[in-house]
């Protein structure tokens, strides 16, 4: 039993940290989200009556739009990211030269580690008015201040982060596929493209789904990219929480949005992972 006690002793600091900095704060905003908002107060009063108003208010189409925008950008960018990352991951995974491999992986990890703010600022300099905004909008004949261009820049900002992460996730998956399988198909007369489409890609589906899941959850919680690159035209749910908090100081409503965002993120992750594990069970 001594061993058991020491095991619990080892787990205690983590559990305390977890309870103090994650569970209690979330329980607190859950409570706050059901409180009645009184304008001019910071946070709801201790004895404020409970109400569903903060949630009912969010059914309004104007708020629903934030959720829709977040999902739309999330799905589009995750898919584009996967399509671009797959050939990169494949080339690195099948690379024989150790030096090339190391440099390529180092480059991708560096790109992943790059400070979010550095990334956003670099995107703004490059695709903003002092960079190539005029040039790019000139090609497609759109306004550099219009919504379309802003949306494109937000997407590029997200992709700059998603491509390295998806590629790194996929390298592991592709490495575990036996290269003999595609070779066999090619020996038997299948074209290279077809052998990849019918063998490599289907075998990668679990990896593709988990890369999609990672990308999508990153998009759902994106905050800085839409805030800086979106210039107020593209706003995600994260930005709505911040606006509720900083601009109108409506804490109960901000809490309700945060709770909804949390539930949506967890549900998405749960649905995708249970879909993956039910179809591609590892056991």
């Amino acid at each position: 039993m001594i061993k058991n006690r020491s095991t619990w002793l080892l787990l205690t600091p983590g559990i305390v940290l977890f309870l103090a900095l994650l569970v209690s704060p979330i329980a607190n905003i859950l409570d706050e989200s059901f409180r009645l908002f009184e304008p001019g107060r910071i946070g709801a009063a201790k004895d404020a009556p409970y109400t569903l108003f903060n949630y009912i208010e969010l059914i309004d189409p104007a708020y629903f739009f934030y959720l829709y925008e977040t999902f739309r950008f999330g799905i589009i960018c995750s898919l584009i990211g996967l399509i671009i990352a797959f050939p990169i991951a494949y080339t690195i995974a099948r690379q024989k030269s150790p030096l090339f491999r190391k440099l390529a992986i180092g480059f991708l990890i560096g790109m992943m580690f790059l400070n979010t703010l550095v990334r956003v600022y670099a995107m703004q300099l490059t695709f903003g008015p002092t960079g190539y905004a005029k040039f790019i909008t000139g090609i497609f004949d759109i306004s550099p201040n219009g919504r379309t261009y802003t949306e494109i820049v937000v997407m590029l900002g997200l992709l700059h982060y998603l491509i390295p992460i998806s590629a790194l996730t996929l390298i592991g998956t592709i490495q575990n596929i036996n290269p003999r399988l595609t070779e066999a198909a090619q020996v038997l007369g299948s074209s290279r493209l077809k052998s990849h489409l019918t063998i490599t890609v289907p075998l990668c589906v679990p990896g593709l789904l988990s890369a999609f899941l990672i990308s999508f959850t990153l998009c759902l919680s994106a905050f800085v990219v839409p805030m800086v690159l979106g210039k107020g035209k593209v706003l995600f749910i994260s930005n709505l929480i911040y606006a509720r908090f900083s601009e109108i100081a409506n804490y109960p409503s901000g809490s309700a949005v945060a709770i909804i965002m949390l539930v949506v993120s967890l549900l998405t992750i749960f649905i995708i992972t249970s879909f993956v594990s039910s179809r591609w069970s590892t056991k």
Binding site: L11, N28, N115, L117, I163, R192, F245, S265
Partner: protein
Amino acid sequence: MKRTVDNCGMIFSTVNILLALIFLLFPIIVSIIMSFDGRSYLGLFPPPEYSLRWYENFFSDTYYLKGLKTSLIIAVIATLISTTFGVSAAIGLDRYQGRGKQLLEALFLSPLVVPAVVIGFAILMFFAALGIFDGFTRLLGGHLIITFPYTVRTTLAGLVGIRKSLTEAAINLGATENQAFWDVTFPLARTGIVAGSVFAFAFSMDDVAVSFFLTSPETYTLPVAMISMMRTNFDLTIAAAAVVLMVFTFCLILILDWVIGLDKLIGKGVYRS
């Protein structure tokens, strides 16, 4: 026909890789070049003349330096605490054989799936309810919870690879359980622990979404300082700050490579010749 389709596929794939490389690198190069811009205003790229004025600005501006200092202090303290707690939790999890092991592991990793903005907002509200308004304490709390899962996960990954028979052999040969741990398990798990703390440091330095809610006018991190300057100010000191942060990232990559080797982070896969 088959050939043509194949060649098109190959060309598409190569072009795709090249374009992605340009897309990833080019903005970084632009911001590095712009940080050496010699003009006194934010003008068109590329700059006609070069100077170090923005770096001089950055290193003499107390607003940025204060942010950099806070960022470093918070990152170091958060890394130390969350590595200690994370290693302890991972060893505990590795030993724990009772029910709910998976649940416990999922709980420890759960801050990874909670959106950062929700964490920041929730901690702000909770600390306010407790009457804690000190920026430093709040920031440290936020950074602890976002770095903790990384240290747990990498340490756990390192521990799982160590065969139990090694520790058992040591105990059979007369070592106490403590000795077996410090002489056998710990040295083998060290790479995982170091990787975890490098990740923790990197993510603490990187964070904006959590810190944004938790800063006070007196205590703010460098990324938060940069973002508020970005809104009000149109000079290139931010570019210099960005390059300073890039140097940090680069050093972290070198450390990671030196400690474990970048190749090992991904693994070699089953079918590599």
